[in-house]
């Protein structure tokens, strides 16, 4: 990996930060670490990860889910992905990248008054589809988006 470039990225990130460190040490999260699904995130196979987090690998394709991601990602370490679900009562959104060492990237539990809309940045080892599985009203729906990665983001 190009070290200079790394340093530059880190530095530019830090420069953009407002001084917010002061409050961080004083506030203790009240009820975190409740139910992080360790097995799902540590699974190295896509179907295992899916079964652990959503219980099944089967889902219906849906046009009401939009996965927004760049067609070509220059840097696989930072791929911005937006999932928009127009399905009412969206309960959860899970993101999978089949080519990654750990296929499950992120899973979101969505409260009743929250939109089916989440943006995150994920890592991608190489060119692949990004799958979004949406659970709504007890049913599963999916959508995907192909992302071409020119520089892998897992390892180096």
């Amino acid at each position: 990996m190009n070290t200079q470039r790394r340093t530059f990225l880190t530095a530019s990130m830090a420069a953009g930060t407002v001084a917010v460190a002061a409050s961080a040490g004083l506030l203790v999260p009240s009820t975190v670490l409740a139910a992080w699904p360790a097995k799902a995130f540590e699974a190295k196979k896509l179907d295992v990860a899916m079964k652990e987090i959503i219980g099944t690998t089967k889902a219906a394709d849906s046009k009401d889910i939009v996965v927004e991601a760049p067609d070509i990602a220059e840097n696989g370490a930072v791929v911005s992905v937006t999932v928009k679900s127009k399905i009412p009562n969206t309960e959860s959104i899970s993101l999978f990248v089949p080519v990654n060492a750990f296929p499950l990237s992120a899973s979101y539990k969505i409260a009743a008054n929250t939109d089916g809309f989440v943006t995150t940045r994920i890592k991608m080892a190489k060119t692949s589809d990004v799958f979004a599985y949406v659970k709504a009203g007890g049913k599963l729906y999916k959508a995907k988006k192909a992302v071409k990665v020119t520089l892998g983001g897992c390892g180096g």
């Binding site: 930060t17 060492a101 990237s105 890592k123």
Partner: protein, 105 residues
């Protein structure tokens, strides 16, 4: 405690609040090797993030090592007004944690 930083932006537009947050965290996968020593860098990543609006949970994120360094998250929810409290707290796989509160603008 190491310097832990988080940036939160939240505003109301048309009855919905939009939240954007960045947590500064290395998000090591545990697969990468240290170039100098050749040893594996131990995994260090955020596992769970809770977003609360006036004490009520609006979004829970479960993250794995596949989320980028300095993770960013954006979401929207209904029923917020200007001046409301928004709290985001996280915990990582080493048991480290942090949180920050912000006012919705």
């Amino acid at each position: 405690m190491a310097k832990k930083k988080m940036k939160i932006r939240a505003w109301v537009d048309g009855g919905k609040a939009t939240v954007k947050a960045i947590i500064f965290h290395p998000m090591e996968t545990g697969l990468r090797k240290d170039k100098a020593s050749g040893k594996k860098i131990p995994p260090h990543y955020i596992t769970e993030v809770k977003c609360e609006h006036n004490g009520k949970s609006v979004l829970t994120c479960y993250w794995g090592p596949g989320v980028s360094k300095n993770p960013f998250v954006s979401f929207r929810f209904k029923g917020a007004k200007s001046g409301d409290n928004l709290k985001i707290s996280w915990v990582d796989n080493t048991g480290d944690k942090g949180s920050k509160e912000a006012k919705i603008g």
